[in-house]
Amino acid sequence: MRYLLRRLGHAFLLLIGVSILAFFFATLAPGNYFDEMRLNPQIAPEAVAALRAQYQLDRPLPMRYVAWLNSTIHGEMGFSFAYNSAVAPLLISRARNTLLLTITATLLAWGIALPLGVWSAERLGRLPDRLLSWGTAALLVIPDLTLVLGLLVFAVKTGWFPPGGMVSVDFENLSSIQKVRDLMRHMTLPVVALVLSVLPLLVRHVRAAVADVLGAPFLLAAQGHGIRRRTLLYRYALPAAANPLISLFGFSIGTLLSGSLLIEVVMSWPGLGPLLLESILSRDVYVVIGGVLLSTLFLVGGNFLADMLLYWIDPRIRTESSAP
């Protein structure tokens, strides 16, 4: 319990630190949202200055940070100039679309990686294992962008999948079953792209971790007791190999928000990716800061979750931390 509170305290401090850094670095960059207006001869410099003052961009940095912090506490996270609304609701609606994509992909990727990694570790060094290793290595070196473009070409050529977007134009007129169907059809390609981009890494980690414990004497002993192969692999080897995998799982939770940005942009999925890209290009700083902070929140949360899982699963960590 004390361990949990201490970890939570660390996580909170980390978030504060990241928010300060994100805030200062984002505002440190030259230019602001209204700079482009100054190039427009039809807008008076006084009008631009008035806008800057209205949005408090003329005040010193620490004061702006305090003002932003205040609005964050009230659940707004600052103001988007481009969308003319508070940042938080904007981010949340986009984050929902991103999460729909990434949670599906993460579950799918782990669901495939665990049995595949165990399967491969069991055949360590034999032909199927080596083929799989080559396969994952090949997949690992293909840049994500190439993968996504390849999938898009596939979608256009076959016409099996829509080449972008989240729903069809006539989405509102569809029945609820058709809506789900339509959404799934649109999700397929981005999810496949995401799975393919993380799968090789996961499979390799699972394989290495399981192969590491497969030779352990306590597994041999269990086999000698007459325990079934399948039980041996999934009840003995996998839990023994779990620690590095749980850390990796925490990390993959951490990338739920930021892992799919590129894929979203290229496949025009209305998630955080396109929003962040736009806001960076137009210097809509509070949206950028909000996006960075949200990803950090997930990263910290993912690691926290992993630590808790480790604490719960591995009795050795518990005894270590309860010692004075």
Binding site: A216, P217, I227, R316
Partner: protein
């Protein structure tokens, strides 16, 4: 009397493949043959790398021999399928050198003992718990340690626990693969006495694998000396010790430290 275990021309070859595919072969066991009568002990003595542990793994059916046969209670077990093997595995149990990693480090003593009991699958949980404490007492441990995890125990306690775990299956053959080597001298003697006492009361057969000829002499009815995968000398323990017929045996005999012959290392110059 029929031998409990009969090994004939057992060979185990490991193929090591380098990056370029040039095969390199390692003959870990080279035409090994012996028999062990029920209730007796055969000690296999040899240097490290002489194939002792491979032999242990093959006899425990944890490694498939390349050729040759193993008969356990007159049943050929070297070429059984995994499903058939599972039925006779409980009768042959292996005790490993280092109890620190032959016991699942995440489990407590109770879970470790329940695992083989659950394999037999014929009693309720309460009965199994009762049996677990009985087994602990059998190997001289207090049932209080049931709740402790394996890495909270001392080396001697762990090896006792490993023995209790093997006893849970009521094996006929116990393979002790350097089972005493990782322990302190005083603990070694205690565990050795425990093993001897268990053998006389339960009538188990031991295959005692060690690099220590003195330890083998203490335990064994017969001694087989191995060198580079081969049995180079085999006979009754007293005969092997008193009239060693092979160079390897003589070297192993010379390696036994004796207080009387001990010379202090004299620094040069």
């Amino acid at each position: 009397m029929q031998p409990l275990i009969k090994v004939e021309n057992l060979c185990k070859r490991y193929a090591r493949r380098s990056l370029l595919g040039a095969g390199e072969e390692l003959l870990a066991l080279d035409r090994v043959s012996f028999t062990i009568l029920p209730g007796t002990t055969l000690a296999i003595v040899g240097e490290s790398g002489s194939g002792k542990s491979t032999l242990a793994l093959c006899l425990a059916c944890l490694e498939h021999p390349t050729s040759g046969g193993i008969w356990f209670a007159e049943k050929e077990i070297a070429n059984l399928s995994e499903n058939e093997l599972r039925k006779c595995r409980p009768q042959i149990q292996l005790i490993f050198q280092d109890p620190a990693n032959s016991l699942n480090p995440r489990w407590n003593a109770l879970e470790i003992l329940l695992e083989p009991l659950a394999v037999q699958n014929k009693s309720t949980r309460a009965e199994m718990k009762h049996r677990a404490s009985f087994l602990l007492e059998r190997v001289g441990l207090s049932p209080e340690i049931l709740k402790r995890s394996a890495n909270e125990l001392s080396g001697g306690q762990r090896q006792r626990l490993a023995i209790a775990r093997a006893l849970a299956l009521e094996p006929k053959l116990l393979i002790l693969d350097e089972a005493l080597s990782a322990l302190d001298c005083s603990v070694q003697a205690q565990i050795a006495n425990l093993l001897l006492e268990l053998q006389s009361s339960l009538g188990m057969t031991y295959l005692f694998i060690t690099h220590d000829l003195a330890m083998a002499a203490h335990f064994a009815d017969e001694i087989a000396v191995m060198n580079r995968g081969r049995i180079v000398e085999h006979g009754p323990a007293q005969k092997v010790l008193q009239q060693p017929g092979n160079e390897t045996t003589r070297q192993l005999l010379a390696a036994i430290p004796r207080m009387s012959n001990a010379t202090l290392p004299v620094p040069e110059r």
